[in-house]
Symmetry: C2
Subunit: 143 residues, 2 copies
DNA sequence: CTAGAAGTTCAAGTCAACTTGAAGTCAAGG
DNA sequence: CCTTGACTTCAAGTTGACTTGAACTTCTAG
């Protein structure tokens, strides 16, 4: 597979694939002339990277979690710790979602005065302020 | 409240508060000499901002969702749409968490060969690749 | 009254994750 | 054979969310 096909099949621009290769996140099987060739497995690898990103890991973290061949390369305890982190993030997100949904539905004049909203806010904000972590990045344009 | 106290109570550096004020996300009640004074309500406002960030909204989005006084300023349909977006993100995060936890526990030699892991990966990755959005930012150092 | 801690502005720097541009290389079709 | 378009490298630019530094002004304690 050449870079154009890998790009097309993964939905990522070729520049990103080169960037990931330079970072050591993926590997090409070699070159045909100057041109990179990729094995089909690179698509799984890219999916894994996208997944890791969606879960809030930086590219460096992803690189340290999985080798360019897609096999987990860190210890199980660390993976479990990441899962715990993720679960905490999920809880806060759930609170935010509930808060937004309530704000959308609540008939109170001002949400600042609505006890339900305040409770939700307080619960979620406590987590957000104290353990400021696990933010979700601004979403990019869909392609 | 002066900026130092607001900083201390919110856990944010003063520079961030100035930055938020410049962005129109919070408002000072006025100046005492050159120095900003903040009403206690600014703390709720900051909590709301932190919450919005944790949920993946950019500062601009937060600014358009809530006025500097903390009242929701956009329509309810939009809030509900954001909540839906968030729920989708939560689903992917949950899949990632399950995937990590499984990777930590699974006795298979290589996760690439474990059917459970592959199923989880496939499900989550499909979402992550197709609708590339709602990433969580790399977490910053805890303070 | 004066020293110094803490406030102020404004411009510039930082970081991650890419993207873009310039300049060059190469393979395939007409 | 020659053009064309996809590929290559490398450096520099972009964006969001801040942070840092320089130069300056104030409030507060002694």
């Amino acid at each position: 597979m050449d870079i154009a096909e890998a790009a097309k099949r993964s939905g990522l621009p070729a520049s990103t694939l080169r960037y990931y290769e330079a970072k050591g996140l993926i590997a090409s099987t070699g070159r045909q002339g100057l041109r990179r060739r990729f094995a089909p497995g690179v698509l799984d690898q890219l999916a894994l990277i996208a997944l890791g990103q969606a879960a809030g890991f930086s590219l460096d973290e992803i690189g340290s979690m999985f080798s360019p061949s897609g096999k987990p390369s860190i210890d199980r305890a660390k993976l479990a710790a990441k899962a715990d982190e993720l679960d905490a993030t999920i809880k806060r997100l759930k609170a935010m979602s509930d808060g937004l949904r309530h704000a959308a539905a609540c008939p109170a004049r001002s949400h600042a005065e609505c006890p339900t909203f305040r409770r939700l806010l307080k619960a979620a904000a406590a987590g957000a302020l104290d353990r400021r972590q696990g933010r979700i990045a601004p979403r990019r344009a869909m392609r």
